[in-house]
Symmetry: C2
Subunit: 541 residues, 2 copies
């Protein structure tokens, strides 16, 4: 017996069509370089994305060819998100926080011949240009200034009729977008997402217990569109028909709060450092902004401490914690309460919500120890391995020395160390390389960091391993205090002591003005380790 | 360039695994034949469904082989929903309201060798048995009585360990379930759903603007599991982890309301006749049941009149209107308000909510007239045609005389006549064969029915065409009054007159005690047409 169902491929073009057909007047709002607000909608997005697609096809871009973008979050970038795959080409988002050398490496590794660049990012791109061999630079005049004649003007490029443009027929496994990891070790590595993966991810991540995305939402995409497809939200948004707000390069807490108020944002997405700045500003001026009731914020990129969740909750802002990777599409888990949790004390609820959470549908998780799969008991640690149609099986053009990331039975090795509890909640302990091995026992740097950051005087804290003649490694805490606040090392140690065994406590607390972060807001522990590589444990702070 | 994503097939087994892994203790409640309540959960469902799968494989059931069920809604039927596809076999739900002859036809057409039967349905099935050639009847002892030795006892059949059972490796396009249409014309026709279609439908239909299915929900599946997979909800429920309640054969309004109260149901699904009976009982005893705040009801199967939506709203029950077909998976559209509607007067909101609505993601709609696709203006009528990975392209073993239901460009012809308005809301005018052609102009029987049913004295009304010497056809209204209420034909005509052109009004209103319905609750217009075939328009009622 055979199924009688139609063979219709999943495609990003369906999402674009759906946004136009059913939510054409729903708004897409961008903040321009001069801070003014530009408004468009899904109907105009459809028209302009198709004009871009038609222009790319006419310019000779072939199905499967990567087209780069070096752009901030704006409706222009959204046009590229849909227009490039609609031409059958592959959206390659270039991370503008990488070095020109790394950006050039990515362009070469992907084989990109065409790049779209925001005009205000041309000074950066002109450092990349001498290092690459490309055919065409299309400059997007977001600032309103004329485009230099040596480049293609985006607005002229798409100034055409595309009413009769027909999408190329594509298999759903055809490439749709390409993202490079921003790892702290080695060269960036490319993941190629298929149309199928992007559509499945959009469906799964929008579900009520996941991001709960409705056409009644106004979603603020603070997470950069140049990084892991802005968590896939632009694709989901067109399918669902929510209003979208895009901050351009204005990422300060005050600017963000202004948009949250003026657009009555109901869901905002970003990394913890962004929400920490917002929390600090709201703590100072709690009544300045009239935010939409029940506004929720998705936090990803790195773990949100329970103290951050509680701190934002005091301002009526509900944090949704998530975990993802470039190697997914990219969201893997989201933390939500089950009905049996709703009567727990709020502190316990914060603790559950601070976990990385439950996998979204179509994701499978397991914890692999040295002797095989670990039990789901919330204690047994091992490497987190994942599987599913929204997970990569490897990298594009991998370097020959890259170890295979797939296990022999086809699971992807994340390199994260985690536990899963009996209810299925996953919790990242650490990156494999961030664990501290003291006297043969593991200490989790993340748990120490969360405990230290719960102290009201602490703005940020990172814990790294420093070598020790007797114990092999010992934890060192590197702490940034809030402006004007004071606390001593002993006070901090006493503060966290109830939560840890004595041998797990950092020997030393070092106070610094700022911590180094990766381009995506994670602590850059490799830099900290280099800075403190000669630290002798027990040194007075 | 190729995508780097894993090739992991979409499969119903993923939904079963997910229900167990993350929502194992969430409840599945069944009402037994003696009206008592049996409680189980997703963890036990997983275990028992896998035991059924292992037993079927050991009994020689092959991948792709249909296994029939003749069962009411219960946790046993749910085991079959997951256990049969987990064996690689095909769930064939037999509609117990069909004639024994039609059931036998379906068993033969599908090629079924094994059937699961509720013991209380054996008297019916024993009328089918002499007409079919099958190997094994597995009797499910839902009543608790011993199973006659000539049949296989379900509980003994699955009494085994299945810890090590491994699902067969299946392509996602492999068949998973099979449903037959219950059309009023000709033999039932089989649609074969794939694992892919069922998983995609589960994702799409659960979205916030669709059924908004969360693990915090308690869902009452009143719509029969022997009909179009109970709208796909059992599959979505395991993925989402909501509590489920299944009514057995106790379908009276009082029994249903008792379960809604005891299980604190948040979403109930059924056909309009069920909700009409519930509305009438709540009108009489508004304070008897303490229902969960914000409880919502999905209505499908046939159109819900705005008056029914308003009537249930008065009891705090929110109606969600939907449209589907066996030939989909099966939900095609659902009606929801957009943000721009929330400030309209409630009557206008009811009118929008009574439309068939917007397609769920992955569904495409168009209206085809004689001269091609019709504009989306809310007025232009034509045949509704649909397309997507959750739509059938035809039937299993079709009879040679069945016209092709696919257009030359690959869209499925629904046989429904509809409009789509500028905002994308689809509205069914009629089945092609239910339209009334009077003096060369079309009259919609559905619009007349909705208008008549808005009268407080009317319980149900159906409008059919009767032949007319001058106008070819004229509408005849056949009306059932509410017990104890009275209204005359002239009063009804005056009541609806403001909404129609004079020539569209029925010449006659006939009052009857009851209307004939199909096995799935739709008006059986073919029977009415036969009954009134010699009616002469203008006859005094």
């Amino acid at each position: 017996m055979h199924s009688t169902m139609m063979q219709v491929p999943l495609s990003v073009t369906h999402l674009l069509e759906r946004g136009r057909n059913f939510f054409g007047k729903h708004e897409i709002v961008s903040r321009l370089p001069d801070k003014s607000i530009a408004r468009t909608n899904y109907s105009a997005l459809y028209d302009r994305a198709r004009r871009l697609a038609a222009a790319l096809v006419d310019a000779g871009v072939k199905p499967g060819e990567p087209v780069g973008t070096l752009m901030w979050n704006s409706s222009w970038h959204l046009e590229a998100y849909f227009g490039i795959p609609s031409a059958g080409a592959v959206l390659l988002t270039l991370n503008l926080r990488l070095s020109p050398d790394d950006i050039a490496y990515i362009i070469g590794n992907a084989g990109t011949r065409t790049v779209l660049v925001d005009d205000i990012l041309l000074p950066l791109f002109e450092k990349v240009l001498p290092l690459v061999d490309i055919d065409r630079v299309i400059v997007v005049p977001t600032s309103g200034a004329p485009v230099a004649p040596r480049y293609t003007d985006y607005e002229k490029f798409i100034a055409r009729d595309a009413t009769d443009f027909r999408y190329p027929e594509l298999d759903e496994n055809a490439p749709c977008g390409m993202c490079y990891t921003s790892g702290t070790v080695g060269r960036p590595k490319g993941v190629v997402h298929s149309h199928r993966a992007v559509v499945l991810h959009a469906l799964s991540v929008s579900l009520p217990d996941c991001l709960n995305l409705s056409c009644h939402d106004a979603v603020f995409v603070v997470t950069p569109m140049f990084h892991v497809n802005a968590w896939g939200i632009p694709f989901a948004a067109a399918m669902i028909g929510c209003n979208l707000a895009l901050p351009g390069h204005h990422m300060g807490a005050e600017d963000l709060l202004d948009i949250m108020e003026s657009e009555q944002i109901s869901l905002a997405l970003g990394v913890p450092t962004i929400w920490m700045a917002i929390k600090q500003l709201l703590d100072k001026q709690p009544d300045r902004w009239k935010l939409r009731r029940g506004m929720r914020m998705m936090v990803g990129g790195s773990a949100a401490a329970p103290s951050l969740i509680a701190g934002l909750e005091r301002h009526g802002l509900a944090i949704k914690h998530g975990w993802g990777m470039t190697e997914l599409t990219p969201v893997g888990t989201l933390s939500w309460l089950k009905p049996e949790h709703t009567r727990l004390p709020v502190e316990q609820q914060y603790e559950i919500r601070a976990r990385q959470g439950l996998p979204i549908p179509l994701m499978e998780l397991r914890i692999m120890g040295e002797e095989g799969p670990q039990p789901w008991d919330g204690k047994s640690v091992g490497e987190l391995q994942v599987r599913g149609p929204i997970v990569t099986r490897g990298y594009h053009n991998p370097a020959p020395d890259e170890a295979d990331k797939l296990t022999s039975d086809g699971w992807f090795r994340t390199g994260d160390v985690a536990t899963i509890d009996a209810e299925g909640y996953m919790r990242i302990s650490d990156r494999t390389k961030d664990l501290i091995k003291s006297g043969g026992e593991w200490i989790s740097s993340v748990e120490l960091e969360n405990a230290i950051m719960a102290h009201p005087a602490v703005a940020e804290a990172a814990v790294i391993a420093v070598s020790h003649p007797r114990w092999d490694e010992r934890p060192l805490a590197v702490v940034v205090l809030r402006a004007g606040d004071k606390v001593t090392a002993d006070e901090l140690r006493d503060f966290i002591a109830p939560k840890f065994a004595k041998w797990q406590l950092p020997d030393d607390f070092v106070f610094v003005d700022a911590l180094p972060h990766t381009s995506t807001g994670k602590f850059l522990k490799s830099a900290l380790r280099a800075q403190f590589k000669d630290w002798v444990s027990g040194t007075p702070a």
